[in-house]
Symmetry: C2
Subunit: 592 residues, 2 copies
């Protein structure tokens, strides 16, 4: 039996477009002799559809599209489509009005429907908000064509593995239930978001499950960017021993095939696409895809960004160029009297390396305009943060004016470290429709840029004979500075970035208490300061654009903090910490 996996990149809400993507894959799969096509979780509406699920016309349109898709598909190909469906029993028994379902279309009709049982409600996931869990696991067989009993699961259904995690995460175990029902293999429709190292972890976990139950597993994962969430694809198949028999592409749509040998019920070997070879390559691939998809799915073609001569905007410009082509990236240089000479020359060198257009707009006339307007109020005050922020807000306003005038999407360039501690100006450098590297810590910004120069840019452009210094060396070498007053550098206000980033990772991603962070070797005064800065910057993050998620825990959808909040955890507080409630049932993966 030949099974196809359509690793799809749906656009949220584009029901007919997504149906067309499924149909295209189905026609190809049928031509290749497949009997079954797997799609990804909620493939018909895209994942996550969020509160669109509360619009009755949305759910109605999906139900109608399911019926007409069933009739358009090649009749001999069975297709598992992911879609929300009504919970018919909600009116009688209570509970949510929808199920997250896998719908089996075959011979022109809906043949069977399977409900997701484990609904992730942590980190970026809100599935209990919309869906009622399924009560049991189910399987199907393609009667007359094959005797294989195929168990159906959806994403999280396979993530409750007590042996693998050391503890159960839910009370029920769909994989074990299917094994008990005597299925021959298990398929999984997923929309599992990317973070660095996630695929290694997925494969290790499912390998454990496959081997334990002696069941082949076919895992179909969504690909593409939907707002802040990036889906890496990497669909794969494991045989009864848990060995990897197939892997699809990272960060791009794919249509792949696996053959089940019906004599022994196990999989035959198929193509295994290699994974990105380092965390830097993963981050790069994810962010390029994220920019590409956000721009396209929002209906834009071109982007504008401010180029400061610093490393953050340099990396974002490189990502945008790789994503959209140099001709679709406009870089604006906005020097002030406090800008260093090298900030201009470095930015221009970068733009030349990338081949992107630039305009220079010196901001002094606007600064003078504000000075004139504010003179009556500010006359007797010392220049300080207010004046520094005005410079940043002038730049933000200029970039938005260009965006409004010419229809370019403004992308912002702040990194995770500065978003964490609030070293950023709200309504200034935070302006933009998408915060490209908002989840990339500063130390990783440097690492990705070094990798780009050493081999990344060359590997990405298959036609380059040698490595290329795409990020000017001076940008990598000089100390980071916001250049909002003479001689300013980041380290005047912040601890060194390697120290800062380690504290932030422990606090934000690993849920460590300040006391535990001190116990790991950090200076208590610095830990207290960093934690206080993170808490005090909540009001800024509340108003930040979506940022592309690449770590275990990003600011944004998966970080829900009160703003008016008096909690300030202390490094010396005598209370005992309780075990950290993990935001998601995965261990921290340490990138090499």
């Amino acid at each position: 039996m030949k099974i196809a996996i359509a690793q799809l990149n749906p656009t949220i809400g584009d029901i007919s477009g997504n149906a067309q993507r499924i149909l295209d894959a189905a026609r190809q799969a049928a031509e290749q002799g497949a009997q079954l096509l797997l799609t990804t979780e909620l493939s018909l509406c895209g994942y996550p559809p969020k509160d669109l699920l509360m619009q009755p016309s949305f759910v109605g349109a999906i139900a109608q599209e399911l019926k007409s898709l069933a009739q358009s598909l090649p009749p001999d190909l069975a297709v598992l489509v992911g879609a929300p469906v009504l919970n018919e029993r909600s009116h009688l028994n209570g509970g949510k009005s929808l199920h997250n379902a896998a719908v089996l279309l075959h011979h022109g009709k809906i043949q069977q429907t399977f409900f997701k049982r484990l609904l992730p409600t942590y980190d970026v996931f809100d599935e209990d908000r919309y869906f009622e869990p399924g009560k049991e696991s189910g399987w199907f067989e393609l009667t007359g064509e094959s005797n294989l009993k195929i168990g159906v699961t959806i994403c999280e259904d396979l993530w409750n593995d007590e042996e693998f995690w050391g503890k159960p995460t839910y009370g029920v175990k769909p994989l074990d239930d299917l094994a008990a029902q005597g299925v021959d293999l298990v398929v999984n429709l997923s929309a599992s978001p990317f973070c660095v190292g996630k695929q290694q972890m997925r494969e290790a976990m499912l390998r454990h499950g496959a081997k334990r139950c002696q069941l082949p597993i076919l895992y179909a994962n969504q690909v593409g960017g939907n707002d802040d969430l990036l889906f890496d694809g990497n669909s794969f198949a494991l045989n009864q021993e848990g060995n990897l028999m197939m892997r699809a592409a990272s960060f791009q749509p794919d249509l792949v095939y696996v053959t089940v040998d019906e004599s022994n019920g196990d999989l035959e070997p198929a193509e295994i696409v290699t994974l990105p070879n380092c965390p830097e390559a993963e981050i790069w691939g994810a962010l390029v895809m994220g920019v590409q998809d956000y721009v396209r799915k929002c209906g834009f073609r071109r982007v504008v960004l401010g180029l400061s001569g610093g490393i953050d905007s340099a990396l974002v410009a490189a990502i945008a160029t790789a994503a959209l082509g140099a001709e679709n990236v406009l870089a604006i240089l906005m020097p002030s009297p406090y800008s260093s000479d090298h900030s201009i020359s470095d930015a221009l060198q970068l733009a030349e390396n990338l081949g992107i257009a630039t305009h220079a707009l010196p901001i002094q006339p606007a600064m003078q305009g504000f000075d004139t307007v504010l003179e009556p109020l500010f006359a007797d005050t010392e220049p300080g943060v207010a004046e520094e922020n005005i410079q940043s807000r002038i730049r933000g306003t200029l970039l938005m004016a260009i965006s409004n005038k010419f229809g370019h999407l403004l992308i912002s360039t702040g990194n995770k470290s500065e978003m964490a501690v609030g070293y950023t100006t709200l309504y200034g450098d935070m302006n933009g429709g998408l915060a490209v590297i908002a989840d990339v810590p500063k130390t990783w910004v440097f690492a990705v840029c070094r990798w780009l120069n050493e081999r990344g840019w060359q590997e990405w452009h298959h036609d380059l004979a040698t490595p290329q210094e795409v990020i000017p060396q001076n940008i990598l070498d000089k100390p980071p500075s916001a250049e909002l007053k003479p001689g300013q550098v980041d380290q005047d206000s912040l601890p060194p970035y390697d120290e800062l980033d380690d504290i932030l990772e422990r606090f934000i991603e690993n849920h460590e208490s300040p006391r535990a962070i001190v116990a790991a070797g950090h200076d208590p005064a610095i830990v207290e300061k960093v934690v206080r800065l993170v808490t005090n910057a909540e009001f800024k993050r509340k108003q930040a654009p979506p940022g592309l998620k690449i770590t275990e825990r990003a600011f944004g959808t998966g970080w829900r903090m009160p703003i008016a909040n008096r909690w300030r955890p202390s490094t010396t507080h005598p209370t005992e910490d309780t075990p950290a409630p993990p935001s998601k049932p995965v261990p921290t993966y340490a990138p090499q």
Copy 2:
């Protein structure tokens, strides 16, 4: 038996401060001869604590505070404290690591702990993200002091009433379970957020439950503002017949008492505070409290706002004045060459009525500064939205400069209608730490202002002999305008506000499909346009400050929409709508 209800206004995360509030109430209650004190849901950490619940030191500090509070309380008074507690079985059985609990403190110790069973995960609520539901309902008695069996419930536990709602909302019924266990009365620790008409609905629902089960119900509700959520208090008590025997104050902390006649197990009459006498008064009281609490809980004392001479900023200035005192409100007038004369004179008249300070900062010099900077890029273009937005962003930047310089919190003045359709400038008039009237539709802005002039301002200030025209009549009479170009009025771009607001309420709050809205009598072209505007403005709302929630469904925490989204519901689409999944299990309440 005398039972006290502490209607508390906790600050999120202020564990020791909240413990002190409970202690103060307990001492008073003990002096008054009460044997039991009820507090509100999660009273020790404040509701909603959100992702603070994932910080192990936070949960640890609460556990420790519970123990020390038990020892500090008057030993003969039993106190039910709301707190998150560890789910000890999560490591064995899976499930979330916390319970939302009511902890009975008595005689210096934790005597019993009760877990919330129905966890709201809809609208603004995310309880499944953090909490494992309790498996059963429980009760206690104060042995040796009383024979009453007192059943304990937490907020949502009482909201599943199939008869009242016409359908079950959950599979289990805590009130019926307690009745079956033969309890004598039921207490409820709540943190139920306000919306217009909510209290009437709460009382009607619990009246139904009390009568059905022939059980008195004591309902203790949190009061105060926590970011976007407003809690109205209005704690109350119903006797066995469901009659109202006591009601506490609206929008302020209170400590009230109810006596249970142990001979018949029913309640004796106590004081019933009257509710605000119209929706306008409710909205006013809620927003005044919301501003007061956000400013105080964020550590500010004074606010700054832009006064345009329009009705939105007029209402916000009046609310801020009532909340903080005239001396703590600074109003900035920022006329441009397109501002009408009356915009200045109306704003000054309003400021005089309120007694607040003003500064006028004409923005033309800053406009010229931007013109100079942008000249090389914009030379050959027609002036349009880009230039209009620059004016708004200059104003937003000036206000933030004043906020940064003098430490005033900037509050923004946009209403719900314009937030819905995106008739607002991101990084301009949207700037601020709190969006005071972001959930008030424009027609209600007018209604509240008229009410203020006719009787509201007089009723609020108990010392005024006659109604006072606090909002200048000209502000009420003139057509709304953004004044970003000569002669501009809102109705150039938008349908009349009464029509717009009705469409918006149906679409946003009532989950009606565009087709249903047309069927209710609206013009299909206008409905399509409005729905498209709402969808297209999602990127702006993503970056909006928190807005105080006063309707069934506000933008913000309870509105989770994708930005890159191709779904555009049509008025003519032939699909059948499915029944709307309600965002919360309540009917729409129509204000009189």
